[in-house]
Structure formats: C-alpha cells, structure tokens
C-alpha cells in the first residue's frame, strides 16, 4: 500500500509557478506604486513650475497683495482675492450642505425604514455622479435668474448662486459619510437611551450624534475640501474677475476658476501667466491637503472608537 514518493515530487513545477508568482507580484507592486508616483509627480510639477513664478514674485507680495491681475500690462500677484472668492463660495455651500446633509443623515440613519434607506442611498450616489459642468449650467441658467427675482440687482455672475449649487452638489456626500458614521454607533448605546425613556430624536441628538461626532466632523471637513476644489460651477456661474470681497452677492473669481480662465487662453509655456496657474494650484493643493489630512485623521479615530 505504501507508495514511497520521491523527494519533492512537485519541485520542478513549483519552481516554475513560484517564479511566475514573483514576476506578477512585482508587477502588482508597481501598479500600487503608481499612486505614490502620482502624488510625487503632482508635488514635483506644481513646485517646479511655480518656482520660476516665485523667483519673479516675492512670496510676501503673493501672500499679502490685494490685487490679482497677472494678465494686465502692470501685473499684480496677490493671491488674496482668489482665496477670498474660494472661501466665500465654500462658505455659502457649507451653509446649505451642512444642515441639509446632517438632517438627511439623521433621518436616514435613525428614522427611515430599511426600504427607504436602501432606495435613497443609491439615489444620493447618483446625484453625486452628475457632471459638475451640468451643475454649473444649473447655477448660471436657472438658479441665478431665480435668485434675481428674490434679490433684485443681483449680477448675472455671482458667488451666491455658485455657492448654493456647490452646496446642493455636496449634500449627498456630506449625508452619505455622516450617515455611515451614525450607523456605526453600536446599537446598545441606542438601546440604553431608549431604556431611559428617550424618544428617537433625543436618542439621535444626545447619543448617536455625539457618538458619531468625529465621523460627522470628517464628513464636514471632506465636504469643505470638495467645495474648495470645485471648479466648473464657479467657472461658469461666479464670474472670472478677481475681486477681494466677502459679499456673496458679488461676482468674483476663485483659485480654480482662475486656472480655468488662463487655460482657456493661449498662454505660451514659460510665460509668467502660465506659471501663475501652478502657483495658484499649489495654494489650492495645500489648502485641500490640510483639510483632507484632518478629515482622514478624524475618520480613522472614529473607526478605532468602535
């Protein structure tokens, strides 16, 4: 019965398969490293193209000058007007998206039936997929005329309309991320609250929301990062004139819409105008990166908590 096997009967075929595995593993690692290369390339390109700009424009001027007119005969390079435009549209967007997104999240997580939740979530997902240029069209062609009826004298290009549409755009995102955070709060915490005689709303606001706070904060912060980086809506509807103002009913360019405006023109490579979009891009990257890092750190902390 005993059939003695020669030592390592499969050795040859295994060696071949092992070799194939090693080759494939290095290819897969290479694919994974594409993500690292992309980040490095982004930083490298932005810095390399912005450096000549900063050799021409002192950093202090860039950060403190209140005029941004790089394409004028007497150019001024103060990033503040663009940053202000970005902040105002972002603020308007958040003023809409945070309350709406949070209410939807609480409703879906704590009140809605399973069936409602299962059909609303994919629908929210689809709203998040609408091309931003379509949202830009909405802002310019539909929302602005509507707002002009409420606020006579509102210019055709204004940050209010663009900001509101960005807000609508990021509601699904804020709602979906905060809902995930709330759903992750363990049920025994809710049960404890119900056992004390609390209603659903009390349980939601006093137990679930505090319990999911870092997750919800992450949703807000990642929402901010999206609003800051949003390009097409502002490029279409907010106007392309740099304007240092905090008034959302005015027209102003943002960092992103400035980049679009310059790209649409035919600036020669190596010109200061061409370099200025990389300087603006660098500022944008730093701002969004800061928000993203805080947002992801918060999500991680939240995941660890439960």
């Amino acid at each position: 019965m005993v059939t003695p096997k020669s030592p390592a009967p499969f050795a040859k075929s295994i060696r071949r398969r092992r070799a194939r595995d090693r080759v494939i593993e290095s290819l897969l690692l290479l694919a994974g490293l594409v993500a690292v290369f992309t980040t490095l390339a982004i930083v490298w390109i932005l810095v390399a193209e912005a450096l000549p700009f900063f050799s021409h424009v002192p950093l202090a001027d860039f950060l403190t000058d209140t005029m941004w007119t790089p394409l004028f005969a007497e150019p001024r390079y103060g990033i503040l007007p663009l940053v202000a435009g970005t902040l105002v549209t972002t603020f308007v967007a958040l003023a809409l998206a945070i309350p709406a997104g949070t209410i939807i999240a609480i409703y879906l997580s704590e009140f809605a039936s399973h069936r409602v939740r299962e059909s609303v979530k994919p629908a929210l997902e689809m709203l998040g997929a609408v091309p931003t240029v379509v949202y830009g069209y909405f802002a310019l062609v539909m929302v602005t005329p509507f707002l002009q009826k409420l606020l006579p004298g509102l210019p055709g290009f204004n940050m209010l309309s663009a900001g509101l549409v960005i807000g609508i755009m990021i509601v699904p995102y804020v709602a979906s991320v905060s809902e995930d955070a709330m759903r992750a709060v363990p049920n025994y915490m809710r049960e404890g609250s119900y056992a004390m005689g609390a209603t659903r709303l009390q349980t939601a606001t006093r137990v679930v929301v505090p319990g999911a706070l870092s997750g919800i904060a992450a949703a807000y912060i990642l929402g901010i990062s999206r609003a800051v980086g949003e390009t097409m809506v502002v490029a279409v509807a907010a106007g392309l004139q740099p304007n240092l103002t905090w008034n959302p009913t005015e027209s102003a360019a943002t960092i992103t819409s400035f980049i679009v405006q310059v790209s649409l023109g035919d600036l020669p490579h190596e010109s200061i105008g061409y370099q200025s979009i990389f300087a603006a891009g660098l500022v944008l990257l730093v701002i969004t990166l800061a928000f993203n890092i805080v947002g992801f750190a918060l999500t991680r902390r939240f995941r660890e908590a439960y």
Binding site: F10, R17, R18, R20, I24, E25, L28, L29, A31, G32, V34, A35, T38, T39, A41, I42, I45, L46, E49, I104, L108, V120, P122, M126, L127, A129, V130, P131, T132, V133, V134, G136, Y137, F138, L140, V141, M142, T199, R200, L201, S225, G229, T231, M232, V236, T256, I259, V260, S263, L264, I277, G281, L285, T288, L289, F291, N292, I293, G295, F296
Partner: protein, 302 residues
C-alpha cells in the same frame, strides 16, 4: 404624573416634527434636482435630434452639433479604461492579497486615500506640466485619457479592494490548502468571484471621468473642432491604427462648457441639449453599476 405625560406628548411631537423635517429636506433636495433635470431636458429638447449628434461645432448655434465631442469623449474613455482598469485592479490586488504590513504598503495606502481628495483641476495641472510638456504628448487624446485614468484610479482601487475583501477567507484557505500559489488563488478564485464589484467600480469611475471638465480644459482641449480623429480601424494591414492617440480633441463636457459660457441664447439651448445627453450617459452608467452590484450580491451567497 400628568406633567410627565404632557412632557412625553411634547417629546413625541418633536419626533414627528423631525421626521417631517427630514422628509422635507430629502424631498426638497431630490425635487430641486429633478426640476433642474427636467428643465435641462425641456430647454435642450429642440436640439435633441440626429443632426445634433452628427454635426460639428459651428458659429451658428442651430447648425452646431456634438459629433467631434462625443467621438472625442468615447476615445478618451477607451484610453482611460485601458489604463485605469489594469493599474487600479492590480494595485488593489496588491494591497489586499500581497502587501506585507510595512512602510511601503502604508505609504501606498496613504497616497491612495489622499489622491481621492485631490481636486480634479490639480490633476489637470499635473497633466499639463507632465504629459503635455515634459513627456511631449501634446494636447492629445492620449494625454487626456491618461489624466482621467489617474483621476479615477483611487475610485477603481477602493471599489476593487472592497469587492476583493468580500471574498471570504475560507475560500482562499481552501485554494491554498490544495497547493495553489498566491497568484493562482487570486486569478482562479478571488478575481472571478469579485468581478461584479470590480466592474461596478470601473463603471462608476468611468462615469465620473466622462463628466470631468476641469482637468481636460487645463491640458488645453479645443472647443472648436471640425474634424474627427484618425479612425482607429484602417483598410489595410494591420487594420488597427493608433494615430488617433496623438490627435487633438474636444469632449462632451468641454463642448457644453463652451456653449454655456456664450451669451447667445441659441448656444444655451445647445448647452442644455449637450448637458442632457451627458447627464443621461452618467446616470445610465451609474444605474448599470448599481444594478450590477445588486445582482452580483444576490447571485453569490457565501
């Protein structure tokens, strides 16, 4: 006792009010968007016909069409899919099945998460500096496709990882126990069983790419193109041509952006029509993705 009773009643009322508020906000969000979509369709309706699909851009709004735009978009999507799918799936497989817990893996993970949050216009600047000038690809379909591939890479990676993670460990163990190598386990089991999720992620990624405007404006897509790229199929051997990769292009969202930024109301109508088609395409792709995910989830019951 009665006071407590009254308190309970009031608290219950708040509950109901909140449900009402939740429903109102939710319905309002959907209703606003639904109204906007309908309006888009209504505005664009006069131009939604065959001529619109088969005409080039024109100075006269009523003669302008989206032929160059949709052909450009399709070719860009081919490049994007051909790059993002293999690279994204391979990266996801590496992270889920191979990666040891070391600093290299940690760095890759951090980068994937981080790239998902980088604004799309930054990818445009990367592409302008790297693909267009440093690598000399010019303002071509290839440059645009590569840019969008990088942009959707995090989406494909995250979706693939989720799908791969859903394959239960005992299935992998069974294959390993039969003497399969890591790659055999991956290729014979993990990937086929998670194909539904992988495809879903790919379609969602492409639906995002199809509507992306900012990055391809940045690399310098033209909005007025009255010719088509070199056809990929040729009459003579080897019947395939890749000359189109280096051709200039325009794309659907670019065309729409161009029209929407013109004051002439005739172009606004064109913009609405192009927007309706673009929106229809993305919603359709997302619908297919959601349906696919639902079906595959039902099919394999571990």
């Amino acid at each position: 006792m009665r006071a407590a009773q009254a308190g309970v009643e009031r608290r219950k009322l708040f509950d109901k009010l909140f449900v009402l508020l939740g429903l109102v906000v939710l319905v309002a969000a959907f209703a606003v968007l639904f109204a906007l979509f309908l309006d888009l369709l209504r505005q664009g309706a006069p131009r939604l016909d065959w001529d619109f699909l088969t005409s080039y851009a024109s100075r006269k709004p009523e003669q302008a069409g989206i032929l160059a735009a949709w052909v450009g978009t399709s070719l860009i999507m081919v490049v994007t899919a051909c790059v993002a799918m293999p690279v994204g799936v391979a990266a996801a497989i590496y992270l889920e099945e191979y990666a040891p817990k070391n600093w290299v893996t940690a760095i890759i993970e951090i980068n994937v998460t981080n790239l998902a949050g980088v604004p799309s216009i930054i990818y445009g600047l990367l592409a302008l500096g790297l693909f267009v000038y440093k690598l000399g690809l010019g303002q071509s379909i290839l440059a645009a496709g590569l840019t969008l591939a990088l942009l959707i890479l995090p989406i494909v990676i995250v979706a693939t990882r989720e799908a791969v993670r859903a394959v239960p460990r005992p299935i992998r163990e069974a294959a390993y126990a039969l003497g399969a190598t890591r790659w055999e386990v991956t290729a014979h089991h993990v990937l086929p069983y998670s194909m539904g999720g992988v495809l879903t992620g790919m379609i969602i990624g492409l639906s995002r790419a199809i509507g992306e405007t900012a990055p391809i404006i940045t690399i310098g897509a033209l909005s007025f193109i009255a010719f088509l790229p070199t056809p990929p199929l040729t009459g003579e051997f080897p019947f395939l041509s890749f000359a189109w990769l280096k051709d200039a292009f325009t794309a659907m969202p670019i065309q729409m952006f161009n029209w929407v930024s013109r004051p002439d109301p005739g172009f606004r109508v064109n913009a609405a029509a192009a927007g309706a088609i673009l929106l229809g395409m993305t919603l359709l792709m997302n619908g297919i993705a959601i349906w696919l995910r639902y079906r595959f989830r039902k099919k394999i019951n571990w």
